[in-house]
């Protein structure tokens, strides 16, 4: 496990570095959202998900769905670094006619589902989880949602269904960085008490530091053995994690770093 943690930390560093380069080259937005979920992606793709990058359509694979599709850049980087496609393809991000769109795109190998409008990932994942139950597949379906995204009612419709049908192969991870489009989640539309809400909806709920690889690994392993309930993991995160001037700043939901800012960011990530 120690080796796993070291390797996934290394992967996270590479994802952050790659994501920053991609966003700067494409003059794109949402870098802070991408950095917020990077550690979760690193742990999932390094240690948890049973997916062979050479057989990305194997029916029995675990499936990961990114519902907060605007944070796509770190998932593209993760897939590239994990061998789903030639890493050089990441240079296509943001180009005209590129498959690497600025919201996550299923045209990229390894991406299960395109999103961009919020509140679609969890209901879609619920359908996949139900399909696995019908087919007696032993895989798990993991969906990553933003916290602001929980304003969308469709998520709660899906959780009602998932709990009613005991979809214990469905794991929702909330990237709870407490920032959304204009201000904090708390000031926008209060979602607390979130733990209690998910409990009341019939889910098994865990809370975890969304940047601590060991804790993430442990909680995901625990989630794997829960029976009879859908699982929700509330991952406490920092938006813009790893780049001090981006952390907890709404601006970095939108802005692209300039060259000087990029250098600072890359140095901080390298020396973290």
């Amino acid at each position: 496990m120690k080796k796993n943690i070291e390797s996934s930390l290394k992967l996270a560093e590479e994802i952050r570095t790659k994501s920053l380069h991609m966003v700067v080259k494409a003059k794109a937005s949402h870098i802070a959202s991408a950095l917020s979920m990077t550690d979760i992606l690193a742990v999932l793709y390094y240690s948890i998900l049973n997916i062979d990058p050479n057989k990305p359509n194997e029916p029995s694979r675990d499936m990961f769905i990114l519902s907060k599709g605007h944070a796509c850049v770190s998932l593209y980087a993760t897939l590239g670094l994990s061998g789903f496609f030639d890493i050089n393809k990441l240079d296509q991000y943001g180009e005209n006619d590129s498959d690497f769109m600025n919201h996550i795109s299923h045209k990229v190998t390894g991406v299960e589902f395109s999103t961009g409008s919020l509140g679609h990932g969890l209901p879609f994942a619920t359908g996949k989880a139900l399909a696995s139950k019908i087919n007696s597949n032993n895989n798990k379906i993991i969906v990553l949602l933003g916290d602001g995204e929980l304003d969308e009612g469709s998520n709660w419709e899906a959780l009602l269904f998932a709990a009613h049908h005991k979809l214990d192969n469905l794991i929702s991870i909330i990237d709870y960085n407490n920032l959304q489009s204009l201000t904090t989640v708390a000031e926008t539309l209060n979602i607390e008490p979130l733990y209690d809400k998910f409990k009341a909806f019939g889910c098994e709920v865990f809370e975890v530091d969304g940047h601590n690889h060991k804790d993430l690994f442990t909680v995901l392993k625990k989630a794997d053995i829960i029976e009879g309930k859908p699982i929700v993991i509330i991952a406490k995160t920092t938006k813009g994690k790893g780049v001090s001037y981006m952390e907890n700043k709404v601006r970095w939901h939108y802005s692209t770093p300039n060259n000087e800012e990029l250098e600072i960011a890359l140095n901080e990530i390298k020396n973290a």
């Binding site: 299960e112 209901p123 879609f124 019908i134 419709e157 269904f161």
Partner: protein, 291 residues
């Protein structure tokens, strides 16, 4: 139509193990037999059309052909974005089935009047629209949709519809089917409930005695390119539909063709805007709407 649909779907489900039916808490006295026969391929999503549509896309992405069933505007307008992004864009085999097409639920009010649904579904380029006009056409449409799984819309009326087709034949999307022969190269071209309305128009107006009737139960954005060649055989075409003219079937045909300068006269019979907000029997509202 409703009974024909569920009977045929149930028969097909015993052969095709990929068929799944999800209802949006509707279908009392309709779906029970399917549920009993295929308990692990029947789900009630509850009253949650957005989840129903996205979840259907998720199931379909794993190889199932999913039918989602509800009334009129609920599985269409309520979850339009789920249809656009999750079902359409991903090109997944989900058939959205509505009951109560047109003004079938006339007394139940505007919420239940499906008179703009074709307009919505026409906007999604991947979707095959099927609007059968009688029970035989319902079966023919369903056969086509099952044999050609993809994003599709099946617009049913309710029950008690007259049968106009004489036998079960193959129908192809975008291709018109003759129901009544024309003696003068003049026809009514119908979709859905328009088939019944065209018969009524002929019955009640001697000017149209020699008119033929053609139906086009399978259509949509993908099939516009098949229309131009079919208009050439006729001197007059009047489209008929139980839907608003705006973004409806007649508008679709009009957008699909370039009308030649000579000979062809084309016009449209559709519901007048004054039905909006009115209630009454279907017959009453159709009259109020211009039929």
């Amino acid at each position: 139509m409703r009974n024909t649909f569920i009977k045929h779907l149930t028969e097909q489900a015993s052969i095709n193990k990929n068929i799944v039916l999800i209802v949006g808490d509707l279908g009392y006295s309709v779906v029970e037999n399917f549920q009993k026969r295929f308990p692990n391929r029947f789900y009630n999503a509850g009253i949650s059309e957005q989840n129903m549509a996205s979840m259907a896309a998720g199931l379909a992405s794993e190889g199932f052909h999913v039918f989602i069933y509800s009334i009129a505007n609920f599985p269409t307008f309520r979850c339009a974005e789920q249809i656009r992004n999750d079902i359409g864009y991903h090109n997944l085999p989900v058939t959205i089935v509505t009951v109560g097409g047109g003004l079938s639920y006339g007394n139940l009010g505007y919420s239940h009047h499906a008179i703009q649904d074709l307009g919505l579904m026409r906007l999604f380029p991947e979707i095959t629209i099927s609007a059968p006009g009688d029970p035989i056409e319902t079966k023919m449409c369903l056969t086509h949709l099952i044999d050609n799984p993809g994003p599709s819309y099946l617009r049913l009326k309710k029950s008690g519809e007259t049968t106009y087709h004489k036998k079960h034949t193959i129908i192809e999307p975008g291709i018109w089917k003759e129901i009544r022969k024309s003696n003068n190269k003049k026809i009514f071209l119908t979709t859905g409930g328009g088939l019944h309305l065209a018969h009524k128009i002929i019955e009640n107006n001697s000017r149209f005695t020699d008119f033929g009737i053609y139906t086009c139960p399978l259509w949509g954005a993908k099939f516009k390119n098949l229309q131009q060649s079919q208009i050439n055989d006729f001197q007059e075409i009047i489209t008929v539909e139980d839907h608003l003219l705006d973004a409806g079937f007649g508008s679709w045909l009009r957008e699909s063709i370039t009308i030649p300068e000579s000979h062809l006269k084309i016009s449209h019979r559709a519901l007048d805007l004054n039905v909006i907000g009115s209630v009454g029997t279907e017959e009453y509202l159709l009259k109020k709407g211009g039929f």
